[in-house]
Each structure stands twice: as structure tokens, then as C-alpha cells.
Symmetry: C2
Subunit: 190 residues, 2 copies
């Protein structure tokens, strides 16, 4: 018999999400998460750099989903088109089944400023990575950074709306609407 169970990381994440949802983030200690998942506190911190990270780890595949279509696009595509492609691809990452889970997770994040800050940090990483990808494609500065920032901002606003109470449109429809709103803002009346 193995000394320890497999899937420790995933078990810790599921346990933490459950405890945060029922008791609140601040009211849940790392010791409690670890004990419930039947490991020691020290093991928790070997998997996650800090307590917040247990809610954010494992989204690396999303990053590829966002940047992949850009790298695969025709060489003559304009930055704005690249951003549209990335947003379209992001939609596939948020199917209807995922909406209730995303709402629950966001409820935890919104209830705690420290978690909100970590979320912003993750989005910042995405912006930086996207900027690199665009520059690799030959987009110059400051256009690459402007495009990357804009893309992630529109994504973020679209995601926030997607999980808003009462919203039932698919992610892609919301993202298109937000992108159109950006266009109208920059050049009204066209």
C-alpha cells in the first residue's frame, strides 16, 4: 500500500474550494485544508506558494488557448483581428456547463480583496505573455502592448458579465458586444 495517495494537489484544491465556499476564505486555515485532505500543512505549501494560489493554480492551459490562435493566424492579419481571434478561442473555454462553477469561484474571490489582487496579477501575467506573442509576430511597440492590454481587458469585462446574475448569453456573444463597444468608444458614430 502506498504511503500517500495520488492526486494530492487536486484534492487540496477541491477541499479548499469547498471549505472557502462554506466557511469563507479568512475563516478557513491552511491547517484545516491540509487536515481535511489528509496531508500536513507543509505539503500544502509545497504545492502552492501561498494560501491564495490554491484557487488560481492550473490555468496554464487557458494561456495556450488564448495565445494559440494568434500564433496560428495568417502572417498579414492585423493586431485587431488577432485580438478577435483570441477572444473567440477564449469562448470555447467557458461553455455553459462551466458557468455555475465559475460563479461560485468568483463569489469567493469577490468576497476577499486579497484574492481580487491575485486575480489581477494573473491577468497581468496574461497581458505580458500576450504582448510577447504579438511582438514575436512582428507587431511593433507600443502597438503590441496596447493590443495585449486591450485584449485582456475586453476578456476580463466579458467574463465578469458572463457570470453576472441573470446573464444567460454565451461568452462569445458577450465578448463580441464588448469589442464593439470598444470600437464605438474610440470612434463614435461609425
Amino acid at each position: 500500500m502506498a504511503r500517500w495517495q495520488p492526486g494530492t494537489r487536486e484534492r487540496l484544491q477541491a477541499t479548499a474550494l469547498q471549505l472557502f465556499a462554506t466557511q469563507g476564505y479568512d475563516q478557513t486555515t491552511v491547517a484545516e485544508i491540509a487536515a481535511t485532505a489528509e496531508v500536513t500543512e507543509r505539503t500544502f505549501f509545497r504545492h502552492f506558494a501561498d494560501k491564495r494560489e490554491v484557487l488560481f493554480a492550473g490555468q496554464d492551459d487557458f494561456l495556450g488557448m488564448f495565445t494559440g490562435p494568434i500564433q496560428a493566424a495568417p502572417a498579414d492579419a492585423r493586431p485587431f483581428e488577432l485580438v478577435r481571434l483570441a477572444l473567440d478561442a477564449a469562448g470555447a473555454f467557458f461553455p455553459e456547463e462551466r458557468r455555475p462553477w465559475s460563479r461560485a469561484r468568483q463569489g469567493i474571490i469577490d468576497a476577499n480583496p486579497a484574492l481580487g489582487e491575485r486575480e489581477l496579477g494573473k491577468l497581468q501575467s496574461l497581458k505580458v505573455r500576450l504582448g510577447e506573442v504579438l511582438r514575436e509576430r512582428g507587431v511593433d511597440e507600443p502597438a503590441a502592448t496596447i493590443a495585449a492590454e486591450t485584449a485582456v481587458t475586453v476578456f476580463h469585462l466579458s467574463f465578469a458579465q458572463w457570470i453576472a446574475a441573470g446573464e444567460d448569453r454565451p461568452f462569445g456573444a458577450i465578448a463580441s458586444e464588448r469589442l464593439a463597444a470598444l470600437t464605438a468608444f474610440v470612434h463614435p458614430g461609425r
Copy 2:
């Protein structure tokens, strides 16, 4: 004779900045900052909610500088013009004399992810507040949020460039350039 010296808050901030710059943020304890400023640790936490906040407190006047021109603008101004006004006003907040100090402070922030997250949180607060101001002026959603996010993003990118090594143009010139880059990104070839 006074029981305590005036300007404790400012003394703590100056002390902290100095210690962070020379020893690094992590290597400087709150106890050390407090001792150098000749107060107790408890006093530090009465002035600042947490250790990071000592670097960010006291920027409330900046918020007004950003939103003030928007509230004072003609009623028929378009959102994009409001954003341009806010950015122009922000330039006055960053005169040449301030550039070396801003560079030093940013150096500390960039060296520590936790400080970077707090900075993003502050920018987020600015976005939220700006969105409120725009809605008060009758700008509808999602235009108000899009405009607020865009304004703060352009401000942030401009500020980053303003303190970049070798950059010597004034803030206003950089902000104008970045705003033009945004326009070109959304509608290339115009």
C-alpha cells in the same frame, strides 16, 4: 513638550522607502521601520492597514486630479474626449522633478510581486471610481466601463514608459502617443 512628534505617518513612509531601497522589501521588517522612526510596531499598523500600504497611502488627491476634469467638462463631451481630459490632467501630477522619485519607488515595487499586486489593486480602484463618475455623467453601460478601463490602462502604460530608462519626454507627450496608438489599433489605416 509634545508627547509624540508630529508627522509620524510621513516619517514612517520616508523611513520605509529608504529601508526598502537599501535592503529590499522582504528583508525589511515592520519592527525595523517602526524602530527607525521611533514608534512601536503597533503604531505602524494604526497608520497603515498592512506592510505594503506604506508605499501606496496618500494618493487620494491623485484620484480627484483624474476625475475632476471629467466632472467639470461640458455636458455634450463624448466619452473619448473625457478620457483625453483626464489624461491631460494626470500629466500635471507627474512633473519632471518627480520622475527620479517615481523611478526609485517603482524599482522597489517591480522587485516584489506582492507590491505589484497591490499596485494593480489601486489601479482597479481607480477604474471603478472612474466608471462611477462616467455613469453619473449619463454614459451608459457598457460604454462607461470600457472607457474607464481604457483610460486607466493608457494612463498606466504611459506612466510605465515615463519612468522607463532613457525616457525623457514629459508625461503628457507619452500619454498622447499611447492614446494615438490605441486609436490606430482599433481602426488601422486612418
